[in-house]
């Protein structure tokens, strides 16, 4: 039985008891790592004393491949970054290309984009709610509740754009095609079912004593530390700072839409959960307003060249992805391919702060702290 490596057999003196720290490898295959994330936890009994995260098990060369393909071809790789909300990523990518090339987007296309991106955000947040419930230990029931709404949204995506997860529906200069005829009634039905889903989650998790007891006061984060780590999105908002790229640096038509930024107070796990739950509701409001305000007209700029060539351009586009600030740095130096495109993914920065949150908590809490970060390995590893 060689459970402990040799160098760790020396007993450490703690509280008068001779104890031995044990390292536990979690991942890359583990039911709670949300993909292929790996962390090595050093535990003293049940308490985590050290944590070392390892990433890169899904590093598949998004940026390198983008440099090798045409602007329109490369989009397929970008919506596979945050694979829970492909449309949000497509939006950031298209905005980067449009900004460098100076392409105008028709107004109707902007509203369609915002609507689809918000539905993607709902999709991603429901995935979080389901997976988080499973991490806390509710045996898949939360997953099934979440998936009911997700499947409806996927069906709608399929109807509009032709694919469930990665439709590559957006184009530099608009969207691929117009919405189907019955879209408005479909979306209204979708919104009412999503709101029912929020109430179900409220009943299943928010009001559950064990869930509250597990989550409240766990791994609190102050706003200053969160900013220093570069944490954005719901985790930053849970600390009490109402900062959202959609409000702070509005893009697309978000400045014409009325929505609120839900915030928490202590930045603990429960606040992160609650902020996301509230954001789902805000997103349904945005989708409703998009339907009301949507003008007629074209959905794709008719003056686009056949091959998109950009002589010179450089920009850093920031959008509010589902996990935080989803930024795209783009640089063009002629030709039909980007010279460099860099993804600033929110999960990457949020995950970097994992060690600070995990150390000192229980082993079981380490799992739900990781779950509360809501990482997507596709955008962490690029």
């Amino acid at each position: 039985m060689s459970i402990w490596p040799e160098e760790r057999v020396l007993p450490l003196e703690r509280d008068g008891l001779n104890t031995v720290d044990m390292t536990i490898n979690v991942g890359p295959q583990h039911p709670a790592t949300h993909g292929v994330f790996r962390m090595v936890l050093t535990v003293d009994g049940e308490v985590v004393v050290d944590c070392e995260p390892y990433i890169g098990y899904l590093h598949r060369g998004l940026e390198k491949l983008t440099e090798s393909a045409d602007y329109r071809q490369a989009m397929g790789w970008w919506d596979r970054t945050d694979y829970l909300a492909g449309m949000c990523c497509e939006m950031a990518y298209c905005m980067a290309v449009e900004k460098m090339a100076g392409i105008e987007v028709p107004e109707r296309a902007e509203y369609i984009r915002v609507m689809m991106a918000e539905l993607s955000r709902i999709n991603s947040h429901f995935m979080f709610l389901g997976a988080f419930g499973a991490d806390v230990g509710s045996f898949g029931t939360s997953f099934i509740y979440a998936w009911r709404e997700r499947e409806r949204i996927y069906d709608f995506f399929e109807e509009v754009a032709g694919d469930r997860m990665f439709p590559t529906y957006f184009r530099p200069g608009g969207v691929q095609m117009d919405l189907p005829a019955n879209c408005e009634s479909r979306v209204r039905g979708l919104i009412s079912s999503i709101r029912q889903g929020i109430e179900d989650f409220d009943g299943l998790l928010t009001g559950n004593e064990i869930f509250v007891e597990r989550c409240q006061g766990l791994a609190p984060m102050t706003t200053e530390r969160a900013i220093n780590w570069g944490i954005t999105g719901p985790i930053l908002r849970a600390t009490g700072l109402p900062w959202d790229v959609r409000k702070a640096e509005p893009y697309s038509v978000y400045d014409r839409l009325d929505f609120e930024i839900p915030t928490g107070k202590q930045g603990d796990i429960f606040d992160r959960y609650f902020v996301r739950l509230a954001e789902v509701y805000q997103s349904t409001r945005i989708v409703e307003q998009c339907l009301e305000q949507m003008p007629g007209g074209l959905v794709l700029n008719p003056d686009l060249p056949k091959t998109l060539r950009i002589d010179k351009g450089e920009c850093y586009i920031r959008t509010e992805g589902t996990k935080g600030e989803y930024g795209v740095y783009a640089m063009a130096r002629g030709g039909n391919k980007a010279y460099r495109m860099k993804l600033r993914s929110p999960s990457f920065s949020n995950l970097a702060a994992l060690k600070e949150m995990v150390v000192g908590s229980y082993l079981a809490d380490a799992i739900i702290i990781l779950g509360s970060l809501d990482i997507v390995l596709g955008e962490v590893d690029k």
Binding site: P28, Q29, H30, P31, H34, G35, V36, G56, Y57, L58, H59, R60, G61, K64, L65, S68, G76, W77, R80, Y83, L84, M127, F143, I144, W147, R148, R150, E151, Y154, R164, M165, F166, L377, G378
Partner: protein
């Protein structure tokens, strides 16, 4: 102020160093498998036993809870209420020791490949592998990038390939049905 003025350019040519990568990516060695199920009643009850065994095996395929990339989302979706793999007796199981099927759901990078090999070796015989999606089958859209393995069948044997990027839940269901047909067909030859 002056930029880039100090040193004359002494650019070394770029020589990549791959470390011990070739060793890490050696395909899994499959020994002459002697599983327990082959030793049960050899030659005594010829008729029907292997059929019963194969039928029970195909009705209770437990995949490992193991998601690699985007396809994992559709894989989870297949387990959920709309497509409910539990109807076929397929329930996910967290430990490789208790599972029969490995669904390779997503891009296999060269960093992940040793872990997948290890997981495959940890599964008890008889074991099956479903390669789900374009990435697991041949690298898919990422095949040109050199950190990506061009198909999981380079390191472990694959039984069923499910096409798509990502495959729809119905495709994965079809893959499982194909695996069930395969188990029934090979009951004579494998055991």
């Amino acid at each position: 102020m002056a930029l880039n003025d100090a040193t004359p350019p002494q650019v070394k040519p770029y020589v990549p160093d791959f470390g011990s990568e070739a060793e890490r990516l050696r395909p899994v060695e499959i020994p002459e498998a002697r599983a327990a199920y082959r030793l049960v009643l050899p030659g005594v009850m010829q008729v029907g036993v292997d059929t019963v065994f194969a039928m029970s095996r195909k009705s209770s395929l437990w995949p490992m809870t193991f998601g690699l990339a985007c396809c994992a989302i559709e894989m989870i979706g297949t387990f959920m209420a709309n497509h409910d793999l539990d109807r076929f007796g397929i329930v996910p199981w967290p430990s490789p020791r208790q599972s029969d099927v490995m669904i390779v759901s997503g891009t296999v990078t060269k960093k992940m490949a040793p872990a997948i090999k290890l997981l495959y070796e940890q599964m008890p015989n008889p074991k099956y592998v479903i390669s789900m999606g374009a990435c697991a089958t041949n690298g898919g859209p990422y095949t040109e990038y050199d950190r990506v393995l061009q198909g999981v069948d380079k390191i472990i044997p694959v039984d069923v390939y499910v096409p798509g990027c990502p495959p729809r839940p119905e495709s994965l269901l079809d893959g499982f049905l194909a695996l069930q047909r395969k188990i029934m067909e090979e009951k004579r030859t494998v055991g």
